[in-house]
């Protein structure tokens, strides 16, 4: 197969092929201690400072299961409508890699804690919002590996590196793996469904309070499995795309993999079963490890741990204490905020529901809160390739900006500049306004001077206005706004200039 591979544009690909997707999501649980020892789990600590003989896998050390991790997993399973096992075990997944202290990972294999669930997600279509049920195969527990950093070499991968550093702080952090059944029949909605599923899952985790689900810190990671087949034909060979680190990337990864596989198939080629690495910058993936020869992990029950046998009464207790699930909560918010399903879907897909909610709580008008989060702020987040929630702007700051708009101190354009300053880290709202000199020009004298200047410069326009073509006033308003660098209230300028010319509307 040639390297210079042809891709088929998405829309064209969808006329000939049906995608089948499967999503494996890893969620780092936000427990205070690790899965099998009492080491701390704080993100960003200096390398190898949150380690002990157990998570370093030192000879002789033994794991002891973190009960909170089991509890969190059961709660996740319940929120995803799963069956909770009455008895299950951990298994060892054996393979050699330097990020694994024991050269095996304690995981679950054929006896997962939670099975057979589902999660409904909503995607926008031309015919309005559509609900898609994504079935969940299993939810299981495992320990995270350490983190490798490869120095030198061209690829940033272990092969060709001059040396590699390993940080075991992450080793042993509780991970939950949530695996969907194959999602079929989504057609061109596949990228949106994938994204909506991960977004929904993230909201469920947040609502449960089991994880901070930050994709860019790796506390939520998604692997995208995808295959294409011609309608009516058998399933195609699937690829697994890793390194998909944002909601946007989930959507793009599905999109680009459909285009790539369609290109391979159109060219008469064969899709290779392999792991691919997604690149945020190009929006494309590159080939990784081939999985044609299935790796043999030699799973067997972990003899250092005893079976997990959650009592039914405990499970029911946890079920009874589950918080409002996001879908129910959204229905409530939709009616409270008086928005339609499409507007709600926009908020959900943008990951903005909680942000809007907290902004409203801070005193922002619901419509304005939605406007900011799904408009200007979302644009910036996409531009920066980060989640909305990770923008350095607070509900209080939005409330402040809104109150300044309300009293006429700011207009929309200036408000956007205020946020630009806040997001650039120039300081709080009032600091940015002061430093950038962003207050609306409300001094009539200054405005009148600017208006006179504009009128003098455009006598033909003045004539038009005087002759009754009031809409021509826009040209004068525009000139004044330009002179005042946008720091004027356009409505006020218009009123003043008409008054100046003795024209009434």
């Amino acid at each position: 197969m040639s390297n210079a591979q042809l891709t088929v544009p998405f829309d064209e690909a969808m006329t000939r092929y049906e995608p089948i997707i499967g999503l494996e999501v890893h969620v780092e649980l936000g427990t205070n201690s690790k899965m099998f020892c009492s080491c701390a789990t704080a993100f960003g600590a200096p390398p190898n400072t949150q380690v002990c003989p157990v998570c370093l896998g030192l000879p002789g050390s033994m794991p002891v299961l973190n009960k909170v991790a089991v509890e969190s997993t059961i709660r996740i399973g319940l929120a995803l409508n799963c069956e909770i096992a009455t008895w299950c075990r951990f298994a060892r997944k054996n393979y050699f890699y330097p990020d694994m202290p024991k050269d095996y990972q304690v995981s679950q294999y054929d006896e997962p804690l939670c099975t057979n669930g589902w999660l409904d997600v909503t995607v926008a279509t031309d015919d309005g919002p559509q609900v898609v049920r994504v079935e969940i195969e299993r939810v299981h527990m495992e320990e995270d590996t350490g983190k490798l950093t490869h120095a030198g070499g061209a690829t940033g991968r272990i092969h060709g590196a001059d040396y590699s550093l390993v940080d075991y702080n992450r080793a042993g952090i509780p991970l939950i793996e949530i695996v969907t059944k194959t999602v079929i029949g989504t057609g061109p909605l596949a990228p949106a469904v994938a994204r909506a599923y991960v977004a929904e899952l993230r909201d469920v985790m947040r609502a449960l309070g089991v994880s901070d689900v930050r994709m860019e810190e790796g506390s939520l990671r998604c692997d995208v499995n995808l295959s294409l087949n011609e309608p009516g034909a058998g399933w195609g060979t699937r690829s697994e795309t890793k390194n998909v680190n944002s909601l946007r990337s989930v959507e793009r990864a599905v999109h680009s993999e459909i285009e790539r596989q369609a290109g391979v198939l159109d060219g008469g080629g064969r899709v290779i079963q392999e792991t691919r690495h997604f690149h945020e910058d190009t929006g494309r993936s590159t080939s990784g490890r081939s999985k044609e020869q299935a790796e043999d992990y030699r799973y067997f029950p972990e003899p250092d741990l005893v079976p997990i046998a959650p009592t039914r009464s405990w499970v029911e207790e946890l079920r009874a204490e589950l918080p409002e699930v996001p879908s129910v909560k959204r229905a409530r918010l939709q009616s409270t905020w008086g928005i339609n399903e499409f507007e709600l879907a926009t908020l959900v897909n943008a990951g903005a529901v909680e942000l809007v909610e907290s902004s409203i709580a801070a005193g922002v008008d619901p419509a304005a809160a939605r406007k900011w989060w799904t408009g200007e702020l979302l644009r910036v987040a996409n531009e920066r390739g980060v989640e909305l929630a990770d923008l350095p702007v607070t509900a209080t700051q939005i409330a402040r900006v809104e109150s300044l708009i309300a009293d006429g101190s700011l207009n929309d354009k200036l408000a956007r500049q205020v946020f630009e300053g806040v997001l650039a880290g120039e300081g709080d709202v009032d600091v940015v306004i002061a430093q950038r000199g962003l207050a609306v020009v409300s001094d009539d004298g200054a405005l009148l001077a600017a208006i006179d200047e504009a009128l003098a410069a455009q006598p033909d326009v003045v004539e038009k206005i005087k002759s009754g073509k009031i809409q021509a006033a826009g040209a004068i308003v525009g000139a004044v706004m330009k002179t005042t660098k946008g720091q004027a209230d356009a409505a006020k300028v218009r009123a003043l200039l008409l008054d100046r010319l003795g024209v009434s509307e």
Binding site: P53, L56, G57, L58, P59, G60, S61, M62, P63, V64, L65, R92, N94, F96, P98, P101, K102, D103, Y104, I158, H159, S164, A294, D296, R298, Y299, F300, P303, D304, L305, V306
Partner: protein, 501 residues
């Protein structure tokens, strides 16, 4: 009490503890006597891989000072002990008898070592063993074999040959062993000492470098049943660091050892652990012991455990499977031996070269067996089947314990063989553990104690007592009664007959 150093090293631990506690002798004197003995004979015995003389004397001084303050001392305070080199001890090299761990100093104490320290015992050092506890002769130690004090040309058993030989050579009054398929009991049998494999989960495995996690168990090694009981009670008990540790009171093994009574007890002879393959001299001493037990008032019944015939096969699938995974971490990346890290090799190659150079032949053999047994497509036929056999063996035990309170058999089919005799014949070596393996598979407890010298070669013969899970006290009840009757007939413990080194 004024005793010569030569006498101190021959005293039972119980006597030493009482004398230290009463101030009749200091722990420092006792410790020095044993260190001197080690210096005198260990060149020939090679029971020790590490002698921690300085730390031992410091511990002894602490105990002596503590006694002088009037503080109450534990039952074995101030008594020296040796620890098999498979248990971690902070700051002291732990090699597991392997080159791959040469120089590795664990940053933490195993729970067993912590308990020895908490009991104010004096740790003399680390004892030799077959590499990663794989073997029945201690010939598979990367640091050279240990010699049996009864005949230095012979093996001291294995894998814990160092711990057993150190007792028989009077280098220590007590030692710690670990038993995965007989590594405490078979060395006890061939050195004329006492060794106990406690109930699985009875003694914490935390800090025991795992061979086969579902089979490994640390236990006491001593020259008498009472001494073993005293040590058993120090190291046993629940440990939250070991998930498989049993959270229940430890059976009162010391009381049982002090009582020693078999009257009215039903003792089962396991039909399958006798006959073909067992030396005549071994069977003769075993049968005499059975008669003795009957004479002491025990009721002897024959029981059948038909699935024991499959125990060795099942064991040599389960053990290598677990070992292949447990030993994966020795890859040259984080500690121990690293080979080939010269910039020309990939990380996989460095791992491979390190393991190639660091592991001995027997370890490699078992890693390969285990890797194969766990492989996709073979798992059900090998590991899966072996686990089923394991269940059947447990059922055999359960049925047998309906008919008998304890079961007995010879501990090992032969007396100590010559060094080099079986080292190139793995199957012959594996057969040493034919009588001890079923207990590890089922997870119950067993003891080996000496019942005389084989008339054929004048070497010690061991008898194995097996009891149900968490009925470890029964081992001591029967063991103490038998030991008492035997020493009455001999006039001393069998170990007194060991030749002078």
């Amino acid at each position: 009490m004024t005793v010569a150093a030569a006498d101190l090293i021959r005293q039972p631990a119980s006597v030493l503890a009482a004398a230290i506690s009463a101030g009749e002798v200091s722990s420092v004197e006792v410790t020095k006597a044993h260190l001197a003995r080690i210096a005198e004979v260990d060149e020939r015995v090679h029971a020790f891989l590490q002698v921690t003389a300085e730390a031992a004397l410091e511990s002894a001084q602490v105990v002596d000072a503590k006694r002088k303050t009037g503080a109450k001392l534990g039952s074995l305070a101030g008594v020296p002990i040796a620890v098999k080199d498979v248990l971690t001890m902070r700051g002291v090299p732990t090699t597991c008898g392997s080159k791959i761990l040469e120089g590795w100093c664990p940053p933490y104490d195993s729970t067993v070592v912590s308990r020895l320290r908490a009991a104010d015992m004096v740790i003399l050092g680390k004892t030799n063993m077959d590499e990663f506890a794989m073997g029945s002769s201690t010939e598979h130690s990367a640091y050279g074999p240990t010699h049996n004090p009864w005949d230095l040309a012979r093996i001291p058993g294995g894998s814990g040959g160092g711990s057993a030989a150190a007792l028989a050579a009077f280098e220590t009054p007590l030692s710690i062993g670990t038993d995965t398929g007989g590594s405490i009991r078979q060395p006890a049998a061939v050195t004329g000492t006492v060794g106990v494999k406690p109930t699985y989960g009875g003694v914490s495995r935390y800090g025991l470098v795992a061979l086969a996690s579902s089979l490994d168990q640390a236990g006491p090694c001593a020259r008498s049943v009472l001494d073993a009981a005293l040590l058993h009670s120090v190291i046993a008990g629940h440990d939250p660091r070991d998930s498989t540790s049993i959270n229940a009171p430890v059976p009162d093994v010391v009381a049982a050892a002090n009582r020693g009574d078999v009257r009215g007890l039903r003792i089962g002879l396991v039909k399958e652990l006798s006959g073909e393959g067992y030396q005549a001299g071994v069977l003769q001493r075993f049968n005499e012991a059975v008669e003795l037990l009957q004479g002491l008032g025990a009721e002897v019944v024959e029981v059948s455990c038909p699935h024991f015939d499959y125990a060795l096969g099942a064991y040599y699938l389960i053990l290598p499977s677990e070992a292949s995974s447990n030993l994966a971490r020795f890859d040259g990346m984080r500690y121990g031996l690293r080979v080939g890290d010269d910039g020309s090799n990939s990380v996989e190659q460095v791992m491979s070269l390190s393991r190639e150079a660091g592991f001995g032949a027997e370890v490699k053999r078992r890693i390969m067996l285990g890797t194969y047994a766990l492989s996709s497509g073979y798992y059900d036929a090998y590991y899966g089947q072996a686990q089923k056999v394991r269940t059947l063996i447990t059922r055999d035990f359960n049925a047998a314990f309906e008919k008998a309170d304890v079961l007995i058999s010879p501990t090992a089919p032969t007396t100590a063989f010559k060094i080099g005799e079986k080292v190139d014949d793995p199957l012959a070596m594996y057969l040493n553990d034919i009588a001890t393996i079923p207990v590890n598979l089922a997870g119950n407890c067993a003891m080996s104690l000496p019942v005389g010298l084989s008339p054929a070669d004048g070497l010690p013969v061991g008898l194995q007592i097996m009891a149900p899970p968490m009925a470890d006290d029964r081992l001591y009840l029967v063991g103490a009664a038998l030991e008492s009757a035997l020493t009455d007939s001999w006039g001393h413990l069998l170990i007194e007959e060991v030749p002078d080194l």
